[in-house]
Amino acid sequence: MSLRRILALAFKEMLQVWRDPRSLAIALLMPLMQMVMLGYGVSLDIRHVPLCVFDQENSQASRAVVERFVASGWFAITAALDSNRAVSRAMDRASCIGAVVIPADFSRQLASTGTGPLQIVFDATDTNTTNIAMGYAQGVVALVTADLDARWTAARGIRPSGVGVVDLEPEVWFNEGLESRYFIIPGVVAVILALVGAQLTSLTVAREWERGTMEQLVSTPVTPFEVMAGKLLPYFLIGVIDAAFCLLAAIYWFGVPFRGSAGTLLLTTALFIVVVLAIGYLISVRVRSQLGASQVALLVTMLPTTLLSGYTFPIDQMPAPIRFLSLLVYPRYFVTILRAVFLKGSGLVELIGPVLGLVLYAVVVLWLAARAFRKRLD
């Protein structure tokens, strides 16, 4: 191995990147654009769920129920309807995803039996939103019940005893405001680096085969390891700049609290960049055309990364075989690391598992890539 040859290769690659300002601009601006799109586009918080009301009674009690729904902030009443047919039409047109139906004898039943029947219909096409909205609705109804309870006891001059009442004091750690953005943005950074990194290197070797420069290069005494090291070095620098852009945007633009140490962040990010660049390089070595390599890189990184990295879809909720499969999806380790470093302030010791996962990945992929590079045309 010759350090001079590695540096000569790296310098050559650097010159070529520098002389191709369009690709350089894409390499540097793409992550920022994706950061904005994914950062704003992906949110699990659901607010102002559009709701219709079919109030058959229209009494003081029934209006109080509707007001509770509005006051909660989770729902927005889009229409007051007057028939069951109107309800189903509104759901069909998707002008609301749920309808509150209050029966005509709501107050009477409440007074006579102590239970007021209330119906909520949901359009469950989007199960995730429906689940969350149903949770919100139950919370609202609990408040309505509590109101009635308080009024009933007050009317009879009974003071609440507190006997037999369990008082839950919820306390949430690490993301006190329950902002889903804080949870998602670090994952978005990992996803972007995984996609962009593999794209960066997927072209380097394929380009040389296509342009005919590889035939001359492989006739020299350069070794496969030197070619790999020389080619990864410049893209490592670009990868670090991309990562810095994304992380700074996460902290200063999206306001995600950063509680960890910069050292842990830098070290783990550098490790992850090595892994993603090595994946792209391996693809570039195997697929000798630029278009093919770039598409394979997209295919190999896009789906597993978005679906199985755990950045939006929680891995613990997946069936066992898929969960097992996700162990192969290297971005999941970095998603875990970034979330922990950002929100919990974890250090390397706490993160030893995912860090070792990435180290193992880096070693195996680099070894495969160095072996896969043949100084042969056949």
Partner: protein, 312 residues
Amino acid sequence: MPQATAAVVADGLSRRFGPVEAVREVSFAVAPGEIFGLVGPDGAGKTTILRMLAGVLSPDVGEIALDGIDVRAEPERAKLHLSYMPQRFGLYEDMTVAENIFFYATLFAVPGKERRARSAQLLAAAGLGEFGRRLAGQLSGGMKQKLGLVCALIHTPRVLLLDEPTTGVDPVSRRDFWAILYGLRESGVTILLSTAYMDEAERCSRLALLHEGRIRALDTPARLKQAMLGALLAVSGPDPRGLRDALVDAPGVLGLLLMGDRVHVRVDDAARRTPELRARLASTGHAPEDIVPIEPGIEDVFVALLGPGAPA
């Protein structure tokens, strides 16, 4: 074959690509300081042979020795001593002349002082002295090929492999190119090149005439021409194609080759056939301006070898 002292030995090389047998049982030995030419039509196997010698393509069968190094067993050691210039321009078009030279000098670990001296000398010889800062992609075809040669020679190789180095190169650059090659031969560098230009083939020390992957003849240009059967007549006239067509089945004619405004006619006996041909042409309305005996060129040898009636 002078194997003990040979710089390059190819022994029984064969290589197929799927159903195509690109190279079949090719053997030759090249002495140090020789300029050895591979000549043949497209698809004859020239590029495949050079790639195998350069260690970038492995033969299916056969042995290659380069300065005594077994190329199949130790391709990387052999690569230290050879330079290979592919047919397609293999340098970086988005890098300048000087940057390309620097890159290849560093890959071969040429010390800085030697690199500067050699590159100045080679660039001057190639007429590229003023173009150090120009991007390789902005050079003319001839200048690109000369830059390729400069990069190939920056580390003093013992064997130089050139695949059609002067195809598409202007006459002035070709002259520069050959001047450098002759200079190298003086310093003992062994050169193997493929060419489609017959005038270049005649400048080689020895030639291998290739057809369909096989060597059909291998000798010095002079001896190849002597070995050609029969005699050669140049027939000229206003309609060379008509002349050729009129002579196709004339008695005693062994081969025909259209060469610009003349037709080269290979005959078994020049003295006997000259008046016969003149009479035949006159009777078909293609009266020739002139019929003269000429010395054969490599092209004629080639056609004689491959055309109808050629020795199998």
